[in-house]
Amino acid sequence: MKILRSLATSLFLVILLSSPLHARDFRNIIKIPVAPTGFVSDSVGTGRTNFKQIDQRLIEQSVRKIVASWNNNTLSEYLADNFQDKSLLINTIRRSVPRDANLRVLSVQGVSTLEQKELKQQKDKNKQLQSIVIATVELQIEFSDPFNGFVRLPHTSQFYLQVTESE
């Protein structure tokens, strides 16, 4: 449930970021997150689909690579072109995160597929399967604060991953 709440939060954040630059006197559209085609909500409330499963080991390896890239300043290689405020995030990390800060994966707790579609390549006629996968990851940032000594900040993140599988 926490996963769902955080996703809603992230979606809400995206909506906020995409609001008009200038405030106006009449109302704005507060967008409702829309379920993709094929999404079926079950009675338990977790939401499920008839999507093809993605190998969890693959996701876990990818998450660890992404976190490693955060530590060695190559995160931009893993961010999608349509990542919201991509350059802003990179600049913020570069500017604001303490230089000795290290991000550590404590665990990858859950992986679920939100969306899936087939892509057909015109050139080589190969098919691709593109999935949007959400991974819940326990992380910890560690750094030395000049006032508070060694600081550990554990938190739970959600990674929205676009997985493209080619034949």
């Binding site: 449930m1 809603a8 630059l21 409702i32 900040l153 739970t156 929205y160 034949e167």
Partner: protein
């Protein structure tokens, strides 16, 4: 070729990219249904001795009440959710209105993005926020919003029906009056946003016998020209129907706004508005029979100095033969004018607001000039000390009678942060002198000395304040007196419980009459409950850091609060003005179109942002205070849209401050943002200063009580 399943690996190449990263509090437990809330049981004892006619409290003896607030939510899936809240109280106090049990506010919002047409349903309390010219107020009833999925532009259709009622007892009474209507809104990239709105208001004879309909068309578009991003907006509205005075209402309104800003910190605003004398929609937030011209221009003189000029003209009763006009010219300067020097005053923070206003009418029944100067200075000495001073002068000239009255006030004080035997606290003494010279040259003068001290240690909190005022008057009709006001509050937090003990004493000692002592003692037990329990550890927030500051929620709770964030604040016209306890204060303007002082107070813990607050001192005069409150609320509604909670209890009248103290007057509006809950309103003053406050925190205290203001002296 068919794709194979993962059990028979077919994958030759895999590419993984990150689309989005969201971060939230550490919590391993998953919950189906979550709720949180608190119950506060309060016992109060009032007593007045001496000259009881002049006592503060009209009702003596024991008074009691109980306030309950519950928030709940359930996320059935990523795209389907429900949330709501209930505010209820049991009243056995003469100071809080009618006795009995009441549900004052309750709401459920259900959102479904899984259906063919995504929709949002509000039942109970909701804020009907169509536009300022049609309907903008809290209602109780139903509202549904449909967002049809089209391949082109997003659409939103809202339909609503509801009543404006303080509580559900009033909601179900016989005097029925209703708002109902709807709007269609679409937003396109090329043509901008376009809305059509229609609101019908109907009331029975006992409530005015109105049957009116207000309709509007509105359009807004952003565009770039030069190095500016501009916005143009317009709305045309028409009111028809009947009310108590006419069966043929015919009111019209035209509104036009042109604004823009560039990255160098220059911005402008041109606002033109004209409302007919019959344009008085019951749910609108506009003044009838008024023509408004508002011109504003802001610029950064230097990196740390900002200037704003304004020229405003209001023409009232412009459909009559006697038009009254108010013309205002003002300038506002904030910043660090001596920052380039190396001396002691390098960090002197200056806030200066001056304006001249002329009010007159064509029949020459009045013609007045007002000249105002407000100067606020603050100087951080070091991390522990902050000194502050303020000077205000207001001159009123009656040009017809050729008479002048003057009011001026000078105050100074310091904030001292102390640590003693594991107690952390702030001690803030203040000295103030106020002088009034009326049109007959009679002079009254107040000299006051006061202090505020708050301290905390391991779950204990103590607040102590005292103020002594000496009133001297040259007018023999005025009664010279001294007053002394003391407040002591002790709080102990233990797990989910808090025990709060309060003592208030007010002494008034007139020179020629008996003195009066008013006492109030209070005991409150607060019980908080949550499911699931909130995390014990802190967290970092979504963006790890602050990247801009245009809205208060840009200050990400949990983000590091360091020099770089202060640079961002400086770029947004907010400059450091010293510490007050665990708060770092900054002077500037988050709402540049409003001239009131807007102090930013950031509370940090272990180098991270804990809460972010804007403090706006406001006049005690009911009309001025109401106008200021509405202007800020308008700005917030345009920025954040419809709020999730709106409490609007009591009126701005001559007793509004007394009612605010007694919890009979309440103004609280909340928005749920991706970065905590944003609360706007007027809390009970803790420092004697009446303030509008805007607070961003992860969880807000119960809205049943007015006691949520910050103990900071500005």
């Amino acid at each position: 070729m068919m794709l194979k399943t993962v059990s028979k690996p077919f994958i030759r190449q895999v590419c993984v990219q990150t689309l989005c990263i969201g971060v939230f509090f550490s919590n391993s437990a998953e919950a189906e249904f979550t709720y949180s809330g608190q119950n506060r049981l309060t016992l109060e004892y009032y007593s007045v001795s001496g000259d009881k006619q002049n006592g503060l409290y009209p009702f003596e003896g024991l008074q009691s009440f109980d306030d309950l607030s519950i928030n709940f939510s359930d996320n059935y899936s990523v795209y389907r959710s429900m949330r709501g809240y209930i505010l209820a109280n049991v009243n056995n106090s003469d100071y809080r209105g009618d006795y009995g049990t009441k549900i004052s506010n309750a709401a459920v919002t259900y959102e479904n993005g899984e259906s063919a047409t995504p929709y949002r349903l509000d039942v109970g309390d909701f804020f009907a926020s169509q536009s300022r010219h049609t309907l903008q107020r809290g209602l109780k009833g139903l509202q549904i919003e449909l967002q049809p999925q089209t391949s082109s532009s997003p659409y939103s259709i809202q339909l609503f029906a509801g009543r404006s009622a303080q509580d559900y007892e009033v909601f179900f009474d016989g005097d029925k009056d209703y708002f109902f209507g709807g709007s269609l809104l679409t937003e396109t990239e090329k043509l901008g946003a376009f809305a059509v709105t229609s609101v019908k208001y109907h009331s029975l004879e006992s409530t005015g016998n109105n049957t009116e309909n207000v309709s509007s068309v509105a359009w807004q578009k952003d565009f770039k020209f030069g190095d500016f991003t501009h916005s143009v907006e317009t709305e045309f509205s028409h009111l028809s129907g009947s009310n108590a005075t006419t069966d043929n209402l015919d009111g019209a309104s035209q509104f036009f706004k042109f604004s823009g800003r560039n990255l160098q910190g220059t911005d402008y605003l041109v606002r033109l508005e004209r409302n007919d004398d019959q344009f008085r929609p019951a749910g609108a937030a506009v003044a009838a029979d008024r023509e408004t011209v508002d011109l504003q221009w802001g610029l950064s003189l230097r990196e740390d100095i900002n200037l704003r000029l304004r020229s405003q003209r209001f023409r009232d009763n412009y459909n009559s033969s006697n038009i009254s006009t108010s013309q205002i010219f003002g300038a506002n300067l904030t910043g660090l004018p001596f920052s380039s020097s190396k001396g002691f005053f390098k960090q002197l923070n200056v806030g200066l607001d001056v304006y001249q206003q002329n009010d007159s009418d064509e029949n020459r029944s009045f013609n007045r000039d007002s000249r105002s100067l407000q100067l606020n200075l603050s100087l951080p000495i070091n991390q522990q000390w902050r000194s502050r001073a303020a000077y205000q002068r207001l001159e009123l000239d009656d040009n017809l009678a050729n008479r002048t009255s003057t009011r001026q006030s000078l105050s100074g004080g310091v904030d001292y942060l102390f640590r003693y035997n594991k107690w952390n606290g702030t001690f803030s003494p203040t000295l103030r002198y106020t002088e009034d010279i009326d049109v007959s040259s009679n002079k009254t003068a107040n000299a006051s000395l006061g202090f505020l001290m708050n301290a905390s240690k391991n779950g204990y909190r103590v607040l102590l304040s005292h103020q002594f005022v000496d009133l001297q008057a040259s007018d023999p009709a005025a009664l010279e007196s001294t007053t002394a006001q003391t407040r002591i509050e002790w709080q102990k937090d233990w797990k989910d419980h808090s025990l709060i003990v309060g003592y208030d004493h007010f002494n008034r000692d007139p020179d020629s009459n008996d003195d009066t002592d008013s006492y109030k003692m209070s005991l409150a037990w607060v019980y908080r409950f949550d499911k699931p329990r909130p995390p014990a550890t802190g967290s970092i927030s979504q963006d790890f850091a602050v990247t801009s500051f245009r809205r208060l929620d840009d200050l990400r709770l949990g983000a590091r609060f360091d020099g770089q964030v202060k640079d961002i604040l400086k770029n947004s016209s907010y400059v450091y003005a010293g510490n007050s306890g665990r708060y770092q204060l900054f002077e500037g303007k988050l709402f540049p179109n409003i001239s009131n002082r807007q102090v930013l107070a950031v509370e940090s813990r272990a180098g991270s942002i804990e809460t972010a607050n804007i403090l706006i001192p406001v006049s005690r005069n009911e009309n001025t205070a109401e106008g200021t409150y509405k202007r800020f609320l308008d700005e917030l509604l345009t920025k954040f849209g419809a709020p999730s909670l709106n409490i609007d209890r009591g009126d701005f009248d001559a007793n509004w401050i007394g009612n605010l103290q007694a919890n009979k007057f309440s103004r609280i509006v909340e928005w749920q943002t991706a970065n905590g809950v944003l609360r706007f309103g007027i809390p009970r003053p803790k420092t004697g200063q009446i303030r509008i406050e805007l607070q961003l925190r992860r969880q807000q205290p119960s809205p049943n009580s007015n006691d949520w203001g910050l103990a900071i002296i500005l």
